[in-house]
Amino acid sequence: MSESAPTVPYASAPVKNDGRDPLPAGAPLVEVRDLKTHFPIRKGVLARTVGFVKAVDGVSFTIAPGKTLGLVGESGCGKTTVGRTILRLIPKTSGEVIYRGRDFFAYQGETLRRLRRHMQIVFQDPVSSLNPRMTIGNIIGEPIEVHGIAKGKAKRDMVAGLLQRVGLDPSYALRYPHEFSGGQRQRIGIARALALGPDFIVCDEPVSALDVSIQSQILNLLDDLQRERNIAYLFIAHNLAVVEHFSDEVAVMYLGRIVEKASSRELYANPKHPYTMALLSAVPEPNPRPKRQRIVLKGEVPSPSKPPTGCPFHPRCPLTRQAAAEAGAGDTVEITSGGERIRVLSKCKNEMPPLEQKQGEDGHVAACWVTK
């Protein structure tokens, strides 16, 4: 697999006004503030709104230029919705996304279109995300032409350069998606995302559909591209080992909220939230003599249309049960979880814990009443 420097110039031609604001030194490239995305639940003939699925419910984070934030969580936790809301592929309910110092949601029309160049997405499923009726050259070349970056021969040269950069033969431009394997299609998806020279890419489960031996090729490619072009990634995945390997910082989501965030190393060495601990311990180790203990959570992730009161994790939380066993009866309350009656701390049942600094590295935040 050739991953060496390309021989064809791939860089997007300099565009006079590319719509971007200059980034002040030290400022984050992307800042998300209290983002909420709620989907209405409609019922009846009049399709009246009877409630909301709070898919994303108050998520905040920042991503520095050229850095990676990993977003992990189980299916239905809202991680994909976060990525799509940031890119305005789904309308937000409230909150702000600050890109280069300005609110991305405030842009309209032509300025918005120009800005979209810089924020791209790589999808999970390389089969359904490529139009089967378009050649690879058109798939990658279309955005280049639409954004007025290049046409004709110049465009074709750029496509050839991009293909080469992602490790594919430039002659593949004339072929169709079905002629390629999963790993090759994901390379095409990456080439398409790169075509407009973005500085921010949302990678939504980019390797989960790929074979093990192909995953590492794609991860290394994304890594190289980040170094070369100073691209920031929001890396959404459910595989914790992959996220740890790939991210500078990791945020763990549960029921639409971030429950813990820390540098990758810190989070894995010193998890604070009981959900993170359970998630980490649940990953099977490729070692036939594992030393860890495993926390097997009872029950399943509750539906985001009716999340539990207080801390959304309390019905499954081993820590609050343990704390309740040691606490006085006045501070605890009995609840039913998964058909079982258990005691938990009243505080966990009634009050939402804030995301606050915990013992450990600076910036290690978690939302839990019990943990220190």
């Binding site: 459910h238 190393r265 594992p290 343990q322």
Partner: protein, 399 residues
């Protein structure tokens, strides 16, 4: 919260007679692009109470091997070219369809990766479990319902009476996979074939399901053929592992031996390319190229076009022993033998088979007939489920 990590448990003595023996199985499919061979010379043995993992990437033949054991390969286009599959000494390939139907579900049960598509959406959970029970156990409806209810309770589904009357769409993915397992285990099979049983599930649910399978295996003593691509799942659940690549078993050993001393360059590459939690590796090792398509396998050793070992050795060998190949748009030299002759699975060490010419001792070794009765003596992972009482109970329980 404490529990003895890796509690030693007295497992029943390994049985000397294999439950399932697959010998030299060869399967072909007729396709538009000619005949393909998804299973070539596969031999496997599974002993009672044992878990044998078949590991490999998509298209390596692991699922076709599993399907062929239940004779679920559509014929045509598929056909068994040669080989035998015997369960308790009876050759399944020689049974007529009526007898085979008795084996399916009763002696051998299977759970699939996709719990959504494997359950019938227009029947209730209860109807689907009871169908198999009535068919195989010759009981009345009422009794069948009781068995079904108990089966749901065994797999940890709360409120089983009510659940029996629900439809698959009313359940979550983890719940549906439990129903699949309940259905598979309702007739107490001797062998459970689990084809990627947790791939579609989240990690915390995966942990629940795998723990459940281990518990049911301990209680019922069934053998499990575990098909997966996840090396973590293999490490924690298998007693014996067979690695498949391009329709063949390329390495086979008991689990500790395989993870400690992988011999085949493919197995080694696979282990290295998986990111490990807490390893903080800067860069992942990769296997170059892609998994070969069964319609156009390379000549000789099917791995030679991606193999780092043959390239390395070719660089040191004389020109007459090497040939130039083109793979993945790249030209390089490999050993001639790797390019022309396909290696067979040989016992390169006692009870450790690998199919590679370049492993020390290959030429001196004999062809391996995989018959490893090994079983782990240790429960792989100690489980804390947050309930201190349950943890204590689990420790005291003699298993």
């Amino acid at each position: 919260m404490t529990t003895a990590a890796a509690t030693a448990t007295a497992m029943p003595k390994p049985s000397t007679k294999a439950l399932l023996e697959v010998r030299d199985l060869n399967i072909a499919f007729d396709t538009e692009r000619g005949e393909i061979r998804p299973v070539r010379d596969v031999s496997l043995s599974i002993f009672p109470g044992q878990t044998v993992a078949v590991v490999g990437e998509s298209g390596c033949g692991k699922s076709v091997t599993a399907m062929s054991i239940l004779r679920l390969i559509p014929q045509p286009p598929g056909k068994v070219l040669s080989g035998s599959i015997s369960l308790d000494g009876h050759d399944l390939l020689k049974l007529d369809e009526r007898d085979m139907r008795r084996v399916r579900g009763k002696d051998i049960a299977m759970i699939f990766q996709e719990p959504m598509t494997s359950l019938n959406p227009v029947y209730t959970i209860g109807e689907q479990i009871m169908e198999a029970v009535v068919l195989h156990q010759r009981v009345g409806k009422r009794e069948a319902r009781e068995i079904a209810e108990q089966a749901l309770r065994d797999v940890g589904i709360a409120d089983p009476e009510r659940r029996l009357d629900e439809y698959p769409h009313q359940m979550s993915g983890g719940m549906r996979q439990r129903v699949m397992i309940a259905m598979a285990l309702s007739c107490k099979p001797k062998l459970l074939i689990a084809d990627e049983p947790t791939t579609a599930l989240d990690v915390t649910i995966q942990a629940q399901i795998l723990e459940l399978l281990r518990k049911l295996q301990r209680e019922q003593g069934m053998a499990i053929m575990l098909i997966t691509h996840d090396l973590g799942v293999v490490a924690e659940n298998a007693d014996v592992v067979a690695v498949m690549y391009a329709s063949r078993i390329v390495e086979c050993a008991k689990v500790e031996e395989l993870f400690d001393h992988p011999q085949h360059p493919y197995t080694q590459g696979l282990f290295r390319s998986v990111p490990k939690l807490g390893a903080h590796s800067e860069r992942l090792a990769t296997i170059p190229g892609t998994v070969p398509n069964p319609a156009k396998f390379p000549s000789g050793c099917k791995f030679h076009t991606r193999c780092p070992l043959t390239r390395e050795l070719a660089a040191k060998a004389g020109a007459e022993d090497t040939v130039e190949v083109v793979s993945g748009g790249e030209r390089f030299r490999v050993l001639r033998r790797c390019n022309v002759e396909e290696p067979e699975l040989r016992d390169i060490k006692p009870a450790h088979g690998a199919a590679c010419h370049q492993i020390e001792g290959y030429d001196r070794s004999r062809v391996m007939v995989p018959k490893l009765a090994d079983k782990r003596e240790v429960v792989p992972v100690a489980v804390i489920d947050g309930d201190p009482e349950a943890v204590i109970k689990q420790q005291e329980q003699p298993t």
